[in-house]
């Protein structure tokens, strides 16, 4: 691997015992640990990037007889598969991370919300959970974990839609506020963290904030697990330091003919070759939940865009107007421009429409459609038009 990209090994390293880390961590002062988590700069690894320590603090400070920890394993972003690999390789770390969170915020119950497409992993995970539930008891930790299966809707990765789904309702996002840390599952304070975030929280208990924060940048501390796919010779999962330049990433993973990289999946941004040098992977540049998809010059960006829009058009919960109708209009719109039924300048109207979707949609799904749409239309206008 080229030296400009730093590969690290926290998540997948097997030289540590999750139970030991957990046992030590729960002996610490809770506020002290939350402060350490805040100091570490860890932000949610699902894509939105909310500071994890703060989230835990809110949930801890919420007064309630019951609280919950939910591990969001509804990994549905196109091009993302790192949570699957984490759950296959180091499930106990994830579960210990959940237990740690439960201990800190005062929750006794944890749920793994596993996407339906991963149901084949359920049995193995259940066995591990059974073991861990016993381990928790052995260190006098009143915490247990259960698996809940998703039903195959992308929007259920959105935390309030996930809660609705867990409550047996249709997976549609709630109005916020209140946020789940104040009122979530069964209207009780709930922490919903991504698989990777929970694992990092446990790792920070092990290595401390300073070692973690030494990696990455000011806004994007530490490292992150990336899912690399597309036109690359090395598809797979890699844990890399945050803040790298996209050009360095492409040097490492590209096939020599990379024309664009979709950073962050369907809800992320498309970066064209001419911007590789100026693009930083992280919250100061382009953040990602992990998906890095490379396209070489044989790819039609019209098809790529159409695919993403199809995806949103199917996965929108269709509750709010901008997202439901906007997605349909964007698809029909680029088709009409391509076929000549609408003038090329109609694309400008569509870009404006996508901006409305961004600011007026109810949840992150509709709000992020414009990311891919604008970045692809802006950079590959000719491919879309002709």
């Amino acid at each position: 691997m080229n030296e400009k990209i730093k590969k690290v090994d926290y998540i997948f390293s097997k030289d540590c015992d999750s139970k030991d880390i957990l046992a030590k961590a729960i002996k610490r002062d809770k506020d002290d640990f939350i402060q350490e988590l805040i100091n570490s700069g860890l932000r949610g690894r699902g894509g939105a990037g909310f500071p994890t320590g703060l989230k835990w603090k809110y949930a801890k400070d919420s007064q309630s007889d019951e609280k919950y920890v939910i591990c969001n394993a509804d990994e549905g972003e196109p091009g993302t598969f790192k949570d699957r690999v984490i759950l296959q390789e180091v499930p106990c770390k994830v579960f210990a991370g959940m237990a740690l969170c439960g201990h800190i915020i005062g929750a006794k119950k944890g749920y793994v919300y596993l996407r339906w497409e991963y149901v084949s992993m359920k049995e193995d995970l259940q066995n591990k959970i059974d073991e861990m539930n016993i381990e928790f008891k052995s260190i006098n930790l009143d915490f247990s974990i259960e698996i809940r299966m998703g039903s195959g809707a992308y929007v259920c990765g959105e935390e309030t839609a996930l809660i609705e789904s867990m409550e047996g309702k249709r997976g549609e996002p709630r109005n916020k506020p209140p946020f789940p840390a104040a009122s979530g599952f069964k209207n009780k304070p709930t922490i919903i963290n991504n698989v990777e975030t929970l694992t990092y929280a446990l790792m920070i208990a092990r290595i401390g904030a300073s070692e973690f924060k030494a990696l990455g940048t000011e806004d994007s501390a530490g490292s992150k697990v990336f899912s690399v796919s597309g036109d690359t010779d090395k598809p797979g999962v890699y844990e890399l330091e945050l803040g790298m330049k996209l050009s360095d990433f492409v040097d490492e993973f590209g096939d020599g003919d990379t024309k664009a990289v979709q950073v962050g999946g369907a809800s992320g941004f498309c970066v064209p070759r001419r911007k590789f040098n100026d693009t930083i992977i992280g919250f100061e540049g382009i953040p990602t939940g992990g998906s890095m998809m490379l396209f070489n010059s044989h790819r039609s960006m019209y098809k790529v865009l159409h695919n993403y829009l199809d995806f949103f058009n199917e996965e929108s919960c269709a509750e709010c107007t901008p997202c439901r109708v906007g997605c349909q209009q964007l698809i029909k719109g680029i088709e009409a421009v391509k076929s000549g039924q609408k003038a090329p300048r109609y694309l400008d109207e569509l870009v404006k429409l996508s901006e409305t979707m961004q600011i007026a949609s109810k949840c992150g799904l509709g709000q992020s459609v414009s990311n891919a749409f604008k970045s692809i239309v802006d950079e590959f206008k000719e491919e879309i038009m002709y």
Binding site: A153, V155, R170, E172, N175, P177, F312, N313, E314, E315, S316, C317, A318, E319, C320, T321, P322, R324, V325, G326, C327, Q328, Q329, K332, G333, A336, K342, E349, K352, L353, T356, Q358, I359, A360, S361, K362, Q367
Partner: protein
């Protein structure tokens, strides 16, 4: 109190108030489609988005509570652009055949698009890419998905207000729609036909099935004798669709208008409402006697009312094991229908086959009720056509009648006379009050011990109300009721009915008699009433109902001279043989989806 600024105007409101409500307080109107005073917050349509200072994204004002120091802009450049886009998007998925639509002129989407001057659609018409089937299966409600803008008011109405959930959101993405269990036709699912969804639909996606043409055809047919009956709650709401404010009583004008429309006889459902009290009251006393005196443990108590057809269908679907509790008395509409083609025909010397019986109801479920196979006891279809308040207003407009300037007129006779007890059937608690006025007097020989006969404990808009009345000083025949505490309950809106029946099922109540109205507020808030209907409007209509009662000379059902006469001439006595034949019915267990 929370202090905030909206369009630079300071306002203080209570914590928990939405931005939308705070704006309303200082007379700033924010358009909102999915919002409704009867329903929970949804935040679906996004038409009500506003800009909050220092926030990148817009906020749905109907769904966002105020916070201290908030600065809101309801008409900024960003808001205007987004709102216009959203309205255009809604129109692009809406089959905008406005000139042919029954909601033309009373459509919130139409108003909004004209307000925002959404002229030539810039976006692509999406209706063409979908295959829409119009569901005509129900005799009450037509569902046309091509008009639906997915605000989900109907879904929330059916679930929250009515606990029926016959319609729900299905599928996702571009295939999302409002549908039924396995997309079955409305007629085959748990729908109670209450029409509350119709009343809350912005557009023509859910409308009542109209029979105006059929009625006009009958009127113009010289061979036919067309009788019309009008329900109590029509007279206090009809004016709203004809240019008057909510709560204005138009009984006399309505009667004159009906005569001008050409009905051969304009009669009153209130007459059979009085009759219902005689039958139902006697039925209640009989059940109490069997339970208390004969010790018959199989007697189903509490007895519930049966005049609301939405309620009847609800219990048939949801609590079939409690069907024995439902009074066997037909609703006033159906009693009227059965008598129109028997008693009335005899008295007027008419051929029953040539009588067309029409009713004007605040209700869509009445259309279904009239179509029930068991409602043919006269040998004919007892009620031929049921029109809603809204349809009557439309007929009056079509006929070019200047409604507001009409002189009052009086109902025709035989079956046109009524009492105040019948009028109050139109408000929640009214049937109970009317029943108590009569039953108490039968049992004790004295008037109910309430000021001006107004039994206020059973009135009001509380969802479930319970009251007790100690019976003292009984006449000889009813001595067994001496000292008995008569426990009654009133529920309106099927969600409340559901709660009461759950308790009844678990045997956790001490009620003897329960009044249930399917619609919130009772018939004043019926699914066939003018649109809009909301808590404020329902209250005004209910007030008008009680005013009407106070203005009547006779206010107890058993004092209605025509009622006394019909028993003498035709029916003999309450629960008598003839009554059983014509005025009572039975119920059917139905599926629970």
């Amino acid at each position: 109190m929370i202090n905030l600024k909206i369009n630079n105007i300071s306002v203080s409101v209570e914590e928990g108030t939405t931005i939308l409500a705070a704006a309303k307080k200082i007379n700033i109107r924010i358009p909102a489609l999915c919002n409704h005073d009867d329903l929970c917050v949804a935040g679906n349509c996004r038409v009500c988005v506003v800009e909050q200072k220092n926030m990148k994204n817009l906020q749905a004002s109907c769904a966002t509570p105020v916070s201290e120091g908030m600065e809101i802009f309801t008409n900024s450049e960003k808001v205007r652009k987004a709102r216009k886009h959203i309205i255009e998007l809604l129109l692009s998925e809406h089959n905008a055949d406005c000139t042919k639509c029954s909601r033309n002129g009373n459509c919130e989407l139409q108003d909004l698009s004209s307000e925002y001057a959404v002229g030539d659609q810039q976006f692509i018409d999406l209706v063409q890419f979908h295959e829409y089937l119009i569901d005509y299966s129900s005799p009450s409600i037509i569902k046309d998905d091509s008009k639906c803008i997915r605000c989900q008011r109907c879904v929330r109405t059916c679930d929250e207000l009515q606990k029926v959930a016959a319609i729900a959101v299905t599928k996702k993405g571009c295939e999302q729609k409002i549908s039924t269990f396995f997309d079955k036709p409305l007629a085959n699912v748990v729908c109670t036909n209450c029409g509350q969804c119709v009343n809350r639909c912005h557009t023509g996606a859910l409308t009542e099935r109209s029979y105006i043409e059929e009625v006009f055809e009958a009127i113009f047919d010289k061979d036919k004798h067309v009788v019309v009956q009008t329900a109590p709650a029509v007279r206090i709401a009809l004016g709203e669709d004809l240019g008057l404010s909510p709560g204005v009583r138009v009984t006399g004008k309505m009667v004159r208008a009906l005569k001008q429309l050409g009905f051969d006889s304009v009669l009153d459902t209130d007459f059979t409402a009085d009759l219902t009290i005689m039958e139902e009251g006697k039925e209640l006393l009989t059940r109490l006697k069997r339970a208390f005196v004969d010790g018959d443990i199989d007697i189903a108590l509490p007895m519930t009312t049966s005049c609301s057809p939405g309620w009847v269908k609800f219990i048939e679907h949801k609590f079939p094991e409690l069907l024995p509790n439902v009074s066997t008395s037909k609703s006033p509409q159906q009693m009227f229908g059965a008598l129109a083609k028997t008693y009335y025909a005899q008295k007027r010397n008419l051929d029953s086959a040539k009588i067309v019986s029409v009713s004007i109801m605040p209700c869509t479920a009445k259309k279904y009720e009239a179509n029930r196979p068991e409602m043919r006891d006269s040998g004919y279809k007892d009620v031929d056509y049921v029109l809603t308040t809204r349809e009557l207003a439309r007929m009056i407009k079509q006929a070019g009648i200047d409604f507001i300037s009409l002189e009052d007129d009086k109902y025709d006779s035989f079956m046109g006379n009524s009492t105040g007890a019948a009028v109050i059937f139109g408000a929640t608690g009214g049937v109970m009050e009317a029943a108590i006025r009569t039953v108490y007097e039968i049992v004790t020989g004295r008037e109910v011990p309430f000021d001006s006969l107004n039994i206020t404990p059973v009135r009001g808009m509380e969802g479930v109300r319970a009251a007790s009345l100690k019976i003292e000083g009984c006449v000889e025949a009813w001595k067994f009721l001496e000292g008995v505490e008569l426990n009654v309950a009133i529920a309106h809106g099927l969600t409340n009915a559901n709660e009461v029946m759950k308790a009844v099922k678990k045997d956790k109540t001490n009620y003897h008699f329960v009044e249930v109205m399917a619609c919130p507020g009772g018939c004043v808030g019926g699914g066939g009433q003018p649109i809009p209907t909301n808590p404020d409007i329902r209250q005004k209509r209910a007030n008008a109902i009680y005013e009407e009662d106070m203005n009547m000379i006779l206010r107890k059902s058993h004092e209605n001279p025509e009622v006394i006469k019909i028993y003498e001439e035709f029916l003999e006595k309450p629960l008598g043989h003839k009554s059983h034949e014509l005025l009572h019915t039975h119920y059917t267990e139905r599926n629970n989806y």
